[in-house]
Structure formats: C-alpha cells, structure tokens
C-alpha cells in the first residue's frame, strides 16, 4: 500500500515537467511583446521597457527562461508578476477562494446527486424518477453561463437573496450562489450515474442474499446497494475536483470570484508566463492527488480491489 502510494507520487515528476514545459512553451509562443502591452499608446522610455524585460528574463531564449523558472521553483522563490506582486502571495490568496468554491460545489453535487439518484434508482419508473430524469436532462442541456446569468439576475437582482457577485473577502455564504451554478451540471451527472448504478445493483445476487438473510431495508440499501454503486460516482467526483480547482473560468468570471480561474484568465491575457505556470504546477499536484485519493477509495468501497506492491 505504502509502496503503491510512493510509486504514484513519483509519477508526479515526469507529469509535472511535461505539463510545465508545454504550458511555458505555449505562453512563450504567444505573439506580441507582453511588456509593451502593459502600456498603451503612451510607451515609457525604452530603458524602462528593457529593464522590465530583463527583470522577467524575457530577453533570454525560451529554454533558459524555463530553466530559470524551474530553479526558482525549487528554491521556492517564484518572483513577481507583471504588476510587481509576489507570485507566491497571489497563489496563497487565490487558491483558498477557489478551494472553498470547489468544496462547496462538490458537496452540493455529491450530497444531492447521490441522494436524488438513490431515490430515483430505488423507485425506477415512478413519477419521482421520471421528473428527476427530465429535470437533470434540462440542467445538462443548459450551458453554465446561461445558468450563471439567470441565477445572478433572479437571486441577486430581483429577489435580492444573495449579492450578485462575490468580490473581496469571499466567505462561504458569498460563494453559495456560484457554487450552486458550478455544482448543478455535475449534480445532474452524479444523479444519473448513481441512479444507473443503483438500478443495476438492485438485481445483484448479493442484494438478494442480503435481503434473504433478513437484513433491514435501510441496511440493504445503504451498506449493500449504495456502497457498491459508488465506484463510478467516486471516479467522476475525483476527476471533477481537479476541474473545479482549475478554476471555473466562466463561473468565476460571471460572479467576479477572485480565484484561480479569474487570475489564470488575466495572466493569459497579459502573457505572464511565470504566473500561469506557477498556477498550473499546483493544479498538476491537485489533479494527481485527487486521482490518487479516488484510487485509494476504490479499495475501501470494494474490498475485492487490491493494490499490487
């Protein structure tokens, strides 16, 4: 088990080098001089531009720039971004916000998705099941930004239940509206996955055995049907967590959430290689860890699964 985890963690290294190199190259290949773009028609003296270019190593060839970035990363000195702010401080500010948003969205989709899916699966073909199926289809069909705008206007402007945007000092309550929007689409998927899985497992041999043994209905449902139905759902949620942490650029944009997605969008517009790659580096770690967690959960959910050492 431990050796399995260590081996999985070692896999991070090539993945990390590969993604950062690729992303760094893509930023480098972006056309236009990012320093000149910081200024409009009124350019500062050339010596200022040259000094900035040297400060960000933009006067160096690509591979040297990437090498400097790696060196800085391992000495834990990420430098400053184009607004002269330390990148490390930026990361420390944006990741907690996005993490809160992701956790909230994940909780919404996991709790409601599994609960609704379970009930729908147990009552297959009944009114509740059909209603939920149609409703979830509608949610899946509507693009996130439409949901975002509608929720923002309905709950933020007409009803005034929530602030239309998040802005500074985001708290759990402020993030609820974007979290619901963000969680809704995946909620529908989780619901449908759970329902399909539950429907399938209801006819399994071990469920019949459990019922025949005289176990109570709740125990059969929770311990036998639900637990065994969780494997595809957990896989989906795990992959989803990485995506949510990557910043829902559209949702964060609509609700003005000062998180990863918004920063990534701005940094890309400005062609700020170091900021983008620093964010991506953390995201790589998040993805790998989330996937590892999912794989470990498999063993708990289905004791038949063993990890080869």
């Amino acid at each position: 088990m431990i050796r399995y985890i260590v081996r999985r963690l070692l896999q991070v290294i090539p993945v990390f080098l590969g993604t950062t190199l690729l992303v760094y190259f893509m930023v480098f290949a972006l056309p236009g001089d990012p320093i000149a773009a910081l200024f409009g028609d009124r350019q500062p003296p050339q010596s200022v531009i040259d000094a900035l270019r040297a400060q960000y190593n933009l006067d160096q060839p690509f591979i040297v720039q990437y090498g400097i970035f790696l060196k800085n990363l391992f000495t834990l000195n990420l430098g400053v971004d184009f607004t002269q702010q330390p990148i490390a401080a930026t990361l420390a500010r944006i990741f907690p916000v996005t993490a809160m948003l992701a956790v909230e969205a994940l909780a919404i989709q996991a709790i409601f998705g599994v609960a609704f899916g379970l009930v729908a699966g147990l009552r297959r073909g009944k009114l509740f099941d059909s209603t939920v199926l149609v409703a979830s289809l509608v949610v899946i069909a509507v693009p996130t930004f439409v949901l975002g705008f509608v929720f923002q206007l309905v709950f933020g402007v007409y009803l005034g239940w929530a602030k239309p945007t998040v802005g500074a000092q985001a708290g759990w309550g402020d993030l609820l509206l974007p979290a619901v929007v963000l969680g809704l689409v995946s909620f529908a998927y989780v619901l449908r996955l759970t329902r399909a899985s539950v429907t399938e497992n209801m006819n399994a041999d071990y469920v019949r055995t459990a019922t025949a043994k005289g176990l109570s209905r709740p125990r059969v449902v929770l311990a036998h049907i639900l637990r065994n139905s969780m494997i595809p759902v957990v896989t989906y949620l795990g992959a989803n967590l990485g995506g949510l942490m990557g910043g829902a650029i559209v949702t964060e944009g609509i609700f003005n959430v000062p998180g990863v997605g918004n920063k990534l969008y701005q940094a890309t517009l400005r062609g700020e290689g170091p900021t983008i790659v620093a964010i991506v580096s953390i995201l790589v770690l998040v993805f790998v860890l989330a996937n590892l967690l999912v794989d470990l959960l498999y063993a708990w959910l289905d004791p038949r699964i063993r990890y080869e050492a």
Partner: protein
C-alpha cells in the same frame, strides 16, 4: 458578443423589475422629497488591479491612476472642463515661458504630518526623472533643464543586432530645479514652453513624502499622500486582485474636497458582473459598461446615467513607408479614403452614440479646439468625391496590389465591429478591396507599428495626459516623437509646434497649433475618425456623478444618500 441576446433580454427584464421595485419605497414619501446628502457615506466604484505600486510617477494606466489622483494633490488641479486651477500653488509666474517661479502654499502637509515645501517638489521630480529609478512617466520632465543628463542611457547592441538601453545618468538631479526657500520653487526649462504650467495638474508632478523616496516599492503598497482621500488603513487597504479602500482626508483643504466619506474601488475582471451589481445597488458607480449594455444603459438606469465628451480620440494611421501612399498619388488616395468614411453613421450605428465624429486632430474638449481648421473639409463624407480622387490617383500610378488595404487592429474591445464598418465604406465607395488585419492582442499591433512593418493602415488613438492641444499633436505627430510610430515627419509642422510652445500667451500658442493642424490635414498621416464620449451609470445610493475633461469620474464630487 457570445451571449448578447440573452443578457439583453434579461437586462430588459431586470430593468422592469427595478422599475417595479423602485415604486415601492417611493410610495412611502409622496411628493418625492430629495434624500439628504450623507457626507460620510462610503461609495463603491468599478476598478481593476493597478499594474504598478501606487507611485504617481510610475502610474500610467487608468486603474492605478484613479487611485493616485485621489491620494495626492499637485500644484494645480483641473476643473470639470479641464481648466487648471491652482491647488498647492499659491502662484505660478513667468515672463519668458522658460523661467518659472512657483510659490507653494504655506502649511501644506502629507497625512503623516510631513511638511510640503518647495524642496519636496524638487526631490520628488528629481526622483521621478532619474533614469535609474525606472519610472514610467519620467518623460514628463523632459522640458526641464538637466533632464537630458538625468535621463541618459547607454545603448548596447548584441550579436543579433538587438539594442538594449541601460540607464546611465550623468547627473543625479536636474539643474533646472531650485528650491529658493521653503515656499519658492524655481524651474528653468530647456526652451520656452507656453503650455508647460498646464501639465502641473498631471499625476507625474505630484509631491512625494521622504518615505517614498527611501523605499518606493514598500511605499507604493501603502502610500501616504496629501489628496482629498487617504488609504483607509495604514497598511493593507489594498487587497490585491480584490479592492482598494480610501477614506476622506479630514485635513484636506483644496479645490477637490470630498463630498462623501470615502471610495472603495472594487476590482472586476469583466464589466458584465459590475453592471449586474449596479442594477442590484451592490456597486455605486461605474465608468466601464459592457458592450452589450450600450444600447440599454439609458433605460436600465433612467436618471442615473451621464454621457460626456472626453479628451480621447481615434485615428486611422497611414504609414508613409507604404509606396502606395507616397507622392501625389498617395496624397490623393489618403484624401479619397478620408472622404469615403461615413463617420456620422458609424458613430451612431456601431458605437450607439458613444463616439462623436472628429472635426480635427484635437478633441473639442481641449481649449483652443477649432472645428473649421482649413483643410478639415477632408473629414466630410463624400463618396462621389472619394471615388473621383481615387481614380485620379490610379491615373498617376496604379495601386500596388501586393500591399492591399488591410487595417491592423486587435479584435477585442469592440474594435472589429468598427474596423469592419470602415472597410465596408472603402469597398462600397471606392470599389477596392479592404479588410481588417486581425490580431488577438493590442501588443501585436504595437509590435508591427514600432518596427514599421505594417502592410498598410492601422488603428491608433490618443488619450490626453493633460488638457493641452500640444499634448495631442507633439507626442503623436512631431518628428521622432515618443508615440509617432509611423515616423511621420514634416519640418514645417515641427516648426509651428515649436513656435506655439514659445508663444507668450495661450491664445497665441493655440493659434500656432491650429496652423500646425493645417499641415496635418494637408499631409493626412492619419485620418481623424471620432472622439470618445464617456458613459457612466450609478446606483440608487448616489445622487449624481460626473466625469472630468479626460473621462475620469470625479469621485470626490459624488454625493451619496
């Protein structure tokens, strides 16, 4: 544009809802007695993350600029129409436009108690101009004697032929700046410049406390100034990527006294959410409207919007290095292109009235503007004449099709729409091929312009730094000027500019500048297109807001309830 239809429908619905909800509280007070002004109310305003530490001489973009302008007070300030009034200056005198004597008001201090004297200005300006300090606005001091020494650079060229400039000042201070005593500042310019004192209200000329000079970067995080507002807390008022909070400076005495308790700038990466926040009274004032709201903002915010001309213009530049635009044929072609553009219609249809067709190379809000400079007839829409002029040019020298009419422009910010409209004007009225040369980013266009490698035309624009005609002519069209990327050069034009600068009176100077514009209309290095109007909207918490000459909101004048 991708969601314009939906948000428009929703916007209309939202406007309706607002109208309905607005009736409810109003019903309680029949007769509509005006709410009293609350002088202590803190208003929230649209903004975005400043790009530099908040040092006046280093801030050259709008989001940092609006904060700096509220935190500091210079020798002069501008009234809503751009007329300079004395602020920290008691008097500004000159007899020859070259030697200036400025009396600084007695008793002025920064909010930390430090006194502001003539020496404060000498130190601040020397700091800003010294090339090793790498201040973005250092060239604002270029007229002062000694500037060439403090701004000197050495240029090195590497093996690939790339030139790098490194600061190498030969003096640390400008010889033209002398603090005669605590109150008297004597400034000597390199040459007489009649409009020099106009620029003293610009942020580059603000005074800095000694702490700023000691550690500019740390100071720029938590600046201490002398303006109508100060940072709300000693440290940490600037929450990066989120907001900046300012409160009224109770000790401020000057022409820009705050009528509210403070301003909190909330940062938005997109104007869309800000617009929604305004509709919900969750944001109080914004000067940036999403492009899909340009048609609806007057109905979404009835009685809570204002539109005013600003000192920002757009031109379509025609580089002289394109052989098609050289010689007699080139001149006829430039005139043909200008006559072919229907400025009136594009301003109305594409810009929804947020632009006004240009009448000159200088916007009307600038003192000295004349709508009838000889030669400006070339700006009238006249397709028949355009066609005729183009045919004459073809007769002299056929158009070289290897350099087609391509208008280089970034496609974001609503630029593609108007460039397409102008291209269609060219196609329909001249029977030629014309289209946009699209770029994702402004920087790409700038690269081409700086290296003189445009195919043919490019969009260009200028936002006034200070309200002066010279500012719209000198930096843009003078030979080798800092923003004259297309390298236009006409010695006669340069001479008239110089004569204008050395005039004794502003009127005399402006007459020369208008003569200089005649040369531009003759040469047409760029076609004036339109001048910008600034539209702003405000929430139910605000009684009235207004923009100044440069389109910036006058936050200190906002009355809240």
């Amino acid at each position: 544009m991708r969601h314009s239809r939906i948000s428009k429908a929703l916007g209309a619905a939202a406007a309706l809802a607002l109208a309905v909800s607005a009736c409810a509280p109003g019903g309680g007070t029949p007769g509509g007695t005006e709410a009293p002004v609350d002088p202590n109310k803190v208003i929230s305003a649209y903004s975005n993350e400043p790009q530099n530490p908040l040092l006046p001489a280093n801030t050259n973009e709008v989001y940092g600029g609006r904060v700096v302008e509220l935190l500091f007070e210079g020798l002069r300030a501008y009234d809503p129409n751009g007329k300079p009034v004395n602020a920290l200056a008691e008097s500004i005198e000159t007899t020859d436009s070259q030697h200036w004597t400025i009396k600084v008001k007695q008793g002025a201090t920064f909010t930390n108690g430090e006194a502001i004297t003539a020496k404060t200005f000498v130190d601040s300006w020397n700091f800003a101009a010294l090339s090793t300090n790498l201040q973005n606005n250092s060239f604002f001091f270029e007229s002062i004697e000694g500037y060439p020494e403090v701004s000197a650079v050495t240029k090195t060229t590497d093996a690939e032929g790339k030139t790098t400039s490194t600061p190498a000042p030969t003096a640390q201070t400008m010889s033209g700046l002398v603090a005669k005593d605590d109150q008297t500042l004597e400034v000597t310019l390199l040459q007489p410049e009649a409009d020099w004192s106009l620029r003293l209200g610009y942020s580059a000329f603000y005074p800095l406390p000694s702490a700023a000079l000691a550690d500019p970067k740390a100071y720029g995080e938590n600046p201490v100034g002398n303006g109508p507002y100060m940072m709300a807390k000693e440290t940490g008022s600037w929450v990066h990527d989120q907001s900046i909070s300012l409160v009224k400076n109770p000790d401020y005495e000057g022409p820009r006294k705050a009528k509210n308790g403070g301003v909190t700038f909330k940062f938005y990466t997109d104007p869309g959410p800000a617009y929604t926040d305004l509709q919900a009274d969750n944001l109080d004032v914004s000067d940036v409207l999403p492009s899909n709201a340009l048609k609806t903002y007057t109905t979404d915010f009835p009685d809570r919007n204002a539109t005013k001309p600003t000192a920002t213009n757009s031109t379509l530049n025609i580089p002289g290095y394109n052989p098609n635009f050289q010689g007699e044929a080139g001149k006829l072609r430039r005139q043909a292109l200008s006559h072919a553009i229907n400025r009136e219609e594009i301003a109305k249809v594409v810009f929804n009235g947020t632009r006004t067709p240009a009448k000159a190379y200088v916007p009307p809000v600038i003192e000295g503007f004349k709508a009838d400079v000889p030669g400006s007839e070339v700006l009238t829409y006249d397709p028949a004449k355009a066609k005729d002029l183009w045919a004459q040019a073809e007769a002299i020298q056929p158009y070289d099709a290897s350099k087609p009419i391509l208008i280089a422009s970034n496609t974001d910010g609503g630029n593609k729409e108007w460039v397409d409209a102008v291209s269609n004007n060219f196609k329909n009225n001249l029977g030629i091929q014309a289209e946009i040369q699209p770029f994702a980013k402004f920087a790409e266009v700038l690269d081409l312009r700086k290296t003189q490698s445009l195919v043919s035309l490019t969009r260009a624009g200028w936002q006034g730094d200070y309200p002066s005609m010279y500012n719209f002519l000198g930096p843009v069209w003078a030979t080798d000027a800092s923003s004259n990327y297309e390298k236009y050069s006409n010695p006669e034009f340069d001479r008239l500019l110089r004569e204008g600068l050395t005039s004794d009176t502003t009127e005399g100077a402006n007459a020369k500048f208008n003569q200089a514009q005649e040369i531009l209309f003759e040469d047409l290095p760029g076609l004036p297109l339109w001048d910008q109007n600034r539209a702003i909207v405000w929430s139910n918490n605000v009684i009235k807001a207004e923009t100044g000459w440069n389109g910036a909101i006058r936050y200190f004048d906002i009355e809240a309830k």
